[in-house]
């Protein structure tokens, strides 16, 4: 689809919040979608309508509302399965977010409740992540290494902000049980070379997981085509609500994994001294799920599909090229991450000499209503790698415009004036 077919002004009308004013009459310039995206009326209305007309618990209530709610909830699962090209709907596990999906998989390793050798883990075994990971894809593996005595290793990152694959032969080896990396970096915008890493993981018999929180909302993602074993992402970054995310896993692996949380809905039968478990995905969905959030996420998938992920991707590529160009004119501004749009998403992080990102963010917000994220963006090791405490991050989505990027550049000039 060409960008001519993509009408950003029409898209913006779908997002009620984008037309609000901030106190002091400032227009809202929302450049923080990598943190959390805004919601279209279609998602808001679907959730409101479900609460107002159909709400009940799912999977257990034997009445009209229970059946309507269950139907809507399970239909949302179908929509998410279609959205990511899952070979089976039973491979779509609803979680509360991407962090839960990552923890769920990490918890399957070295777990006495599981018997599959692929998930056995102990001293001598290795886990591989990367230096550009969000804390969500670092800490669960650190905890796993602590529990099992396994060794945590990681890919370094190049000065340009790419995964450094030069040592992959040594890093991913016959001791590696799992490789888990970001599909797209939440700081650098870098889209990682999944196929190259996966090829090596397969050579040594390791499993591979992707943290796709920053890719699924912005690009067409087909889990079957990717060929990895697990993919985790969250709903609130893809125009859906918070409190709902997805773990996709290969069916036979989900079968082989032990449960994560125990509770209602994940069981087959319970005795006082033991239980048997429901098949996936329910095995991993203990307790009453975030019902309306899941239905809202289904509406979000519908919305993005109706716009077209190719069109979203093309629009974001234009915005990124425009931003990288425009930001180059700001004195002392240094982009942390790839300087062109090759294998790169619409997240641009940068530093300004002598001005701390918290001050940048504060002035952009207070003076111009520009919302960016400042800090280490839950990727502290990556910032340490670049020798900086923090960055300012602008992240774009389908509803952003080049005039908003112009506003950002004007705002940055003003920030520099305040601190000159």
């Amino acid at each position: 689809m060409t960008s001519a077919a993509f009408d950003v002004e029409r898209i913006r009308k779908d997002f009620p919040i984008l037309s609000r004013e901030l106190p002091g009459g400032r227009p809202l310039v929302y450049l923080d979608s990598g943190n959390s995206s805004q919601k279209p009326a279609q998602v808001i209305e679907t959730m409101r309508e479900h609460f107002a007309q159909h709400y009940s618990n799912v999977g257990r209530a034997m009445h009209a509302l229970g059946s309507e709610s269950t139907e809507a909830f399970e239909t949302a699962r179908d929509k998410l399965a279609d959205f990511i090209g899952a070979p089976s709907r039973d491979e779509v596990v609803f979680t509360k977010n991407a962090s839960e999906g990552l923890n769920l998989v990490a918890y399957a390793f070295g777990n006495p409740a599981g018997e599959d050798p692929r998930f056995r883990m102990g001293p001598g075994d290795e886990i591989v992540i990367s230096e550009m990971e969000h804390h969500s894809n670092i800490v669960p593996w650190q905890l796993l290494a602590r529990r099992t005595g396994a060794t945590l290793r990681w890919f370094p990152v190049t000065d340009e902000g790419r995964l450094d694959l030069s040592g992959i032969g040594d890093l991913v080896n016959e001791r590696t049980k799992i490789v888990s990396i970001a599909h797209q970096s939440n700081v650098l915008g870098t889209v990682n070379p999944v196929a190259a890493v996966l090829a090596r993981a397969r050579e040594v018999g390791a499993l591979m997981m992707l943290d796709a929180s920053q890719s699924v909302p912005h690009h067409p993602v087909d889990v079957a085509a990717l060929g990895v074993d697990f993919v985790a992402f969250t709903g609130h970054k893809m125009v859906g609500p918070s409190g709902i995310g997805v773990l996709w896993g290969r069916g036979e692996l989900l079968e082989a994994m032990p449960p994560f949380l125990g509770g209602g809905e994940m069981i087959e039968a319970v005795w006082m001294d033991h239980s048997t478990y429901a098949p996936p995905p329910h095995k991993f969905e203990a307790g009453t799920p975030p019902i309306v959030e899941a239905i809202g996420l289904g509406a979000a998938a519908d919305y993005l599909t109706s716009v077209g992920l190719e069109a979203v991707e093309a629009h974001e590529r234009e915005l990124t090229a425009y931003a990288l160009d425009a930001l180059r004119e700001v004195p002392t501004l240094r982009v942390i991450g790839p300087g062109d749009t090759h294998e790169r998403g619409a997240t641009v992080s940068f530093t300004l000499d002598g001005i701390h990102p918290h001050d940048v963010g504060q002035i952009l917000d207070d003076a111009f209503g520009i919302a960016v994220r400042v800090g280490h963006h839950c990727a502290r090791p990556l910032h340490l790698r670049f020798g900086i405490p923090a960055t300012t991050r602008a992240s774009f989505y389908l509803y952003n415009t080049t005039s908003e990027i112009d506003a950002l550049v004007r705002g940055l000039h003003h920030v520099q004036k305040v601190f000159s």
């Binding site: 918290h358 504060q362 207070d366 502290r380 405490p389 305040v418």
Partner: protein
């Protein structure tokens, strides 16, 4: 513009030209405090003299203009003063910053530190202003213990 009430000229001046910055010898106690939400950090040393006199406050750190300027202002107020006096200023400064912008500051006690009154209206930034001051209080406790 709302920010102008926070980024007072005095704060920007201290940020651009920090007073007393750098770690010095001798010292009685050294502390290191961080603000985990934003990564700001400060190392602070205190040297006390006879009669509860504060002979030197030295520090090094990194962070936003608010946190770094607060350390510089603290240095000016504390060095040459007494432990008792400075604890009074720390208490008043803390009361001001935690007052959600509703507290009328005592300018006689605070001196230049009154410039941080505007920061109190920004809950996310209060910790930035307090970082050095809490570190100082901690260092005093350790050096008199």
């Amino acid at each position: 513009m709302i920010t102008e009430s926070m980024y007072q000229e005095l704060i920007l001046e201290h940020y651009k030209h920090p007073q007393g910055r750098g770690l010095r010898e001798p010292f009685d106690a050294e502390v290191h405090h961080v603000n985990p939400t934003c990564g700001d950090e400060i190392t602070m040393r205190v040297k006390l003299g006879d009669g509860g006199k504060v002979e030197d406050v030295s520090y090094d750190g990194q962070g936003c203009s608010i946190s770094q300027a607060a350390a510089s202002v603290l240095y000016e107020l504390a060095s040459g003063s007494s432990v008792e006096e400075t604890l009074g200023v720390v208490d008043e400064f803390t009361r001001l910053l935690q007052g959600r912008g509703q507290v009328e500051p005592d300018e006689d006690v605070l001196g230049d530190a009154v410039a941080f009154a505007g920061v109190a209206k920004y809950p996310a930034r209060v910790k930035c202003a307090l970082l050095a001051w809490m570190a100082y209080k901690d260092a005093l406790v350790r050096s008199t213990a």
